[in-house]
């Protein structure tokens, strides 16, 4: 079984539907496995994924996408440059969360794909010193097909939302939680208690159960601070922030060294690279710039 620690799922904006041929699409798009987070029986998937990532020196990767069924051979797919990859989601803080919980980070920033999920009110049963207690809770009620939430496979209908960016939602109304999520939508970190507890991460020998706060500085990420300031008639600039605020926070290193196997460690390096390279303008950012340029203004970020 593969430990799923701080796995990043890397996706391109528009994955091709299974079975489609790359040549049909004019720009060389790449379909990478939509979910690195796999079940044990699909281990070959992730092995493949990480392999392809470790070979990052190849500027253009040309690879055959392997399907679980080897009989169905797919035509070759062109994989684009590694810098075009960026994280779309990850599981974080596995070391400090109880096994029954999952902290998922969705990287909405600079993506066309909608977050694509709905939440609802509900009730859940908690274990308290006095015994079982029924308490109100917030649950995921629907995933939009093709949305970011659905495509990562990390969130599911009826998962209970426990925290939004490190802040507990207990005692908050549905509208409050909605506003919190939308306010954090550029870098949304949701801690859920999955309805399906069968796919929980198993941590060999490590005592668990503490529901500590994330040590990942990602919870305080300030990526939204890049307000655009346009000097009309002059040059535009991003609102000055120190460089550290821009960089995507590094992964939780301790969790890695404690649990990750070699191949995963390798992939994490490449992921970090991908993260830092994401600071370069994404296609969406470029698009935004273009639309503003139409109004006769110049922006430099």
């Amino acid at each position: 079984m593969i430990d799923r620690l701080n796995n990043h799922v890397i996706m391109l904006p528009e994955p091709l539907p299974p079975g489609s041929v790359a040549a049909i699409c004019p720009p060389p798009l790449v379909f990478l496995t939509s979910c690195l987070l796999c079940f044990a029986e699909e281990a070959d998937y992730s092995t493949f994924g990480t392999d392809s990532l470790t070979r990052k020196k190849n500027t253009v990767l040309s690879a055959v996408l392997l399907r679980p069924d080897p009989n169905k051979k797919k035509p070759p797919v062109i994989i684009s440059l590694p810098k075009d990859f960026r994280p779309v989601s990850s599981i974080i803080d596995v070391d400090i969360l109880p096994e029954t919980h999952r902290r998922v980070r969705l990287y909405k920033h600079g993506q066309e794909k909608p977050l694509g999920f709905y939440i609802r009110d509900g009730s859940s049963v908690r274990v308290t010193p006095q015994g079982l207690e029924k308490v109100p809770g917030i649950f995921i009620s629907r995933l939009v097909p093709g949305g970011l939430a659905e495509s990562t496979g990390l969130l599911a209908v009826n998962d209970e939302v426990l925290e939004v960016n490190g802040i507990e939602v207990a005692g908050k109304s549905l509208d409050q939680v909605t506003d919190m999520m939308i306010a954090n939508s550029h870098n949304l970190i949701i801690t859920v208690k999955p309805a399906n507890q069968r796919n929980n991460i198993v941590r060999g020998g490590v005592a668990s159960g503490s529901s500590g706060r994330s040590s990942d500085s990602g919870l305080e990420s300030d990526e939204d601070d890049e307000d655009l300031v346009i000097e009309v008639g002059g040059e535009a600039e991003g609102v000055g922030r120190s460089a550290s605020d821009h960089s995507v926070p590094s992964l939780s290193g301790s969790a890695f060294s404690a649990n990750a196997n070699g191949s995963l460690r390798g992939s994490s390096g490449s992921l970090n690279n991908a993260n830092t390279s994401s600071a370069t303008p994404s296609p969406d950012r470029a698009k935004e710039r273009r639309s503003l340029e139409e109004e006769g203004t110049v922006i430099t970020l």
Binding site: N165, M180, S185, D227
Partner: protein
């Protein structure tokens, strides 16, 4: 060590916070929502109004007592209870047992042996012999306790003892009343007189009847109801008959109750559902006495409000003088309800609360003290061609009309034209300029004039679309401005009206009386107008072409709701039709199936969980271009050495636009044009609506209002050192440096606790301990109904108080803050709740009621709460003499 130090510092800060901030709900202004009962104590000169929510409010004292309108108020019995240095009276309640079984002689067989005599309808006490109480039962039985019984043919509505205790008046459901004389112990009373005042045709019930003697001459007879059923069954009337004079006072809402201030009948006090009307019965013509409190704020629905603190005396007097000319039809008699003493000190300053109304009026209220009293009323409707003549609704009764109606009261919820509705108000207290903006994109500039003037209002159309293509306005048309000169009474007189095109509702308004500029914004853009030269200075379109809702105007949203409603109805109808078809086939099993399907469908509609979509905001969202806030500031926008006039505009989509204004010096101001150049645009990445913009001077203090320093009422802003810009969005507070707009500090609100900023204001908090210590803060109200204060310029959270229920959306939307840390919000359509976040600045009732010292009658006493009973006893004892 460091930690220890910081801890000490924090506790000192906490102490300071206690001296600066304190949350109190102080006064309720306006007319109680849904009144249900009225009581009056002649000895205490005190009036009580009960409401359906269970509150009993006492006037002139305003401490509410929780209670229930099923309790009967006995007038003469009242006591007082001391509590927290405040004296407030406790009305003495008598609860009637539901089944009295009086030992009566000659009780008709129908009633004998029945312990339950139906519900008690009325109760009155004999004024000379308090051992006699008359009780009226729902089925028409009247019982004089210890005395006699009276049977009437018609259902009883009310009864009244005459002053000498010699006879009883009874009123009935058929619009009649009877007078019964009580003479000694003989076998019953003679029906002396029976009359149907508006007779001949069937009449409605007389719900209450009162007869009061005068020192010389015939008595006053007053009754409510009794109108001819067919022709005037819908009128709400109280009729007063005195000698040959008879008037049917015609109210616009249902009559709850009335009483007369006695000795000599001097004033009739009528509580109707939406207002309290007091009629002077001693002055010829029975004019109305103006109410000093309990004013129906909602005589036309309130659409916005604006508070101006510390009005200069001169302006105050001019407004009050203009207002007094509007109130000539009121009686000169003083307010007749005079109980208690007001111990509150005179208000330290004169404050104005301006309310905008649906019918295009702006009302000016004296908000300095506990009583919110009307000062002046401005109507903007005469500027426009309206469908109806405003003089129409105050139609005087035709000569010889029967019943002799006279319209009284000012509650008039019907607006002739919703486009007249007022949306934004801005008053400059130094110059007397007022700008008022409304629903159909109209922006009026008004100037205070002590004389009446006939003038033409100049109309300027400003096209905010600026050639934006693909736009369809489906909303209302713009108002037609009268081209001919209009006669305006003394007061605020309009001289220019700017009409936005498309005529969408004005969403932001700012006035700079020193530069003589007005800025306004709608969902399409914003503009600046020079009201001295009457020139357009700037038009900026903020409309996003992909914003379909804004592109189509306000009606499309209504349409989509209609559409979805229609679809749901269709779905239901379809299932019903299928149901009926199956019914014809007469197959029970099929019907059951169809029923089950219908049920399931209904259940699905009902049980479908409330869910919320989680989606990042995008630039394509609806109404991103809607202008939420406009702000004039003299600050550093181009470089750090030269301050310039500037205009800042914030949009719904998180955009901030800054323009440098070149305003010519005063001597050339009338000739040279004012120009505006775009300087900066900020797009907040979180794209939340910008609800407030404030420039902070070199000391971190918000810039003063225009003309404030010129009038020596504020110290000049610090122009050395760098200025900062505070941008308040619904989700975050951000401070930027000026002139190079770079982010300095910020405070996230929504991301942390899920609440959003709804209303925001700057306030000065003076310490309750030391008058010379004050701090400036940013007060805001969230969608959760919490009032919070941030320090400036460091934007640190200071205090947070729950203020309004979060479900009370209209209450939250109506909130305004004062410069001293007080606030007002509509707790009902007719009442403002006043609150204070300041520990020093409170406007709250402080009053004393001296209750008499002797009781009415020991037999009527009922035990009260332990500590109060002795006090009450004393007071009751006092009432006897």
């Amino acid at each position: 060590m460091k930690r220890f130090k910081r801890h000490g510092h924090e506790s000192q800060r906490d102490r300071l916070k206690h001296e600066l901030f304190q949350f109190t709900k102080t006064v309720e202004h306006g007319f109680p929502h849904q009144p249900s009962a009225l009581g009056y104590s002649p000895s205490l000169q005190l009036m009580a109004i009960g409401t359906r929510s269970g509150a009993i409010k006492l006037y002139p004292l305003i401490e509410p007592i929780p209670g229930d309108d099923k309790l009967l108020l006995i007038n003469k019995a009242a006591g007082f209870l001391s509590k927290k240095n405040l004296f407030f009276p406790l009305i003495y309640f008598l609860i009637l047992p539901p089944c009295l079984s009086p030992s009566l002689r000659s009780v008709p067989d129908d009633y004998v042996g029945r312990r339950n005599l139906e519900h008690v309808e009325a109760l009155q006490e004999n004024p000379v012999n308090s051992n006699q109480v008359v009780i009226g039962y729902g089925r028409g039985l009247m019982v004089v306790w210890d005395l006699e019984r009276v049977i009437c043919p018609q259902q009883l509505e009310s009864m009244w003892w005459t002053e000498d205790g010699g006879s009883i008046l009874s009123s009935h459901s058929d619009g009649s009343y009877c007078s019964w004389s009580l003479t000694g112990e003989d076998d019953g009373e003679e029906e002396e007189k029976s009359d149907i005042p508006y007779g001949n045709f069937p009449c409605k019930a007389i719900t209450k009847i009162v007869q009061l003697p005068t020192a010389a001459g015939p008595p006053f007879l007053l009754f409510s109801g009794g109108m001819p059923r067919a022709s005037y069954g819908d009128r709400h009337c109280v009729t007063v008959i005195h000698s040959k004079t008879q008037v049917a006072f015609d109210f616009t809402s249902r009559i709850i109750d009335f009483f007369v201030v006695t000795d000599e009948p001097s004033a009739l006090v009528v509580l109707v559902e939406e207002e309290l009307v007091v009629i002077d019965l001693q002055t010829e013509g029975w004019p109305v006495i103006e109410t000093p409190y309990l004013v129906p704020l909602h005589s036309s629905a309130i659409t916005c409000s604006h508070h101006v603190s510390a009005i200069p005396l001169k302006l105050w007097e001019r407004i009050a003088a203009a207002g007094s000319l509007q109130n000539t039809h009121y009686s000169k008699k003083p307010w007749p309800i005079t109980g208690g003493q007001n111990l509150a000190p005179d208000p330290p300053q004169r404050d104005l609360l301006l309310t905008g109304h649906e019918d295009g009026t702006v009302r000016f209220w004296d908000a300095s003290g506990v009583c919110l009293s009307p000062l002046y009323k401005l109507s903007t409707a005469p500027v426009f061609h309206a469908d109806a003549d405003p003089n129409d609704n105050m139609s005087q009764s035709a000569e010889g009309e029967w019943p002799p109606f006279r319209k009284v009261g000012c509650f008039d919820p019907y607006s002739d034209d919703p486009r007249l509705g007022i949306q934004k108000i801005h008053l400059c207290k130094y110059s007397g300029y007022l700008t008022v903006a409304g629903t159909a994109g109209q922006v009026l500039m008004l100037e205070l004039n002590d004389e009446a003037a006939e003038q033409t209002v100049e109309a300027k159309v400003m096209d905010l679309l600026q050639g934006q293509e693909g736009f369809r306005w489906k909303g209302h048309t713009q108002l037609d401005v009268r081209e001919e000169p209009v006669m305006f009474p003394p007061g605020f007189q309009p001289f220019t009206v700017v009409q936005c095109q498309p005529p969408a509702v004005v969403t932001a308004l700012a006035l700079h009386s020193e530069w003589k500029l007005v800025a306004f914004g709608t969902s399409h853009g914003f503009g600046i107008f020079d009201y001295l030269q009457k020139n357009k200075v700037l038009i900026k379109c903020t409309l996003n072409p992909s914003d379909q809702l804004a592109m189509e105007g306000p009606l499309s949203r209504v349409k989509s709701i209609k559409k979805s409603l229609r679809q749901s109805f269709r779905r239901i109808r379809r299932s019903r039709v299928s149901l009926r078809k199956h019914h014809i086939s007469n197959n029970t099993k099929v019907i059951q199936e169809a029923n089950a399907r219908l049920e399931a469908e209904l259940a699905e509609m009902e049980l479908a969980p409330v869910q919320r979509k989680i989606e990042a905001r995008s630039s394509d969202d609806s109404f991103t271009g809607l202008v939420r806030t406009l702000y004039f500031a003299d600050t550093f926008l181009s470089d750090s050495s030269h301050n310039t006039p500037s205009l800042w505009a914030g949009t719904n989509g998180g955009g901030v636009f800054a323009y440098i204004l070149s305003v010519p010096p005063v001597e050339r101001r009338a000739d040279e044009p004012v120009t505006a150049q775009p300087a900066k645009e900020i797009q907040l990445m979180h794209r939340a609506p910008v609800v407030g913009i404030v420039a902070l001077d070199g000391h971190g203090v918000p810039l003063p209002e225009p003309l404030e320093t010129a009038h020596d009422l504020a110290r000049s802003p610090e122009m050395h050192g760098s200025h900062h810009l505070l941008v308040v969005s619904e989700e975050q507070f951000k401070v930027f440096t000026l002139p190079k707009v770079s982010s300095k500090t910020k405070l996230k609100l929504t991301a942390v606790d899920g609440s959003r900023v709804r209303r925001v204001g700057v306030a000065w908090f003076v310490s309750s301990k030391a008058e010379d210590y004050s701090e400036v803060g940013l007060v805001f109200l969230t969608n959760q109904g919490d009032v919070q204060v941030l320090s400036l310029p460091h934007i640190k959270m200071q205090v947070r108080y729950p203020c309004i229920r979060r479900e009370d959306v209209s209450g939250i939307a109506s909130c305004v803050f004062t410069k001293q840390g007080q606030g007002f919000y509509l707790m009902s359509p007719s009442e403002f709740e006043r609150f204070s976040v300041s520990a020093r600045c409170l406007v709250e009732p402080r009053c004393l009621l001296e209750a008499p010292l002797h009781p009415v009658s020991p037999s009527q006493r009922r035990p009260q709460t332990e500590e109060a009973s002795s006090e009450i006893q004393k007071s009751l004892e006092g009432d006897q003499t």
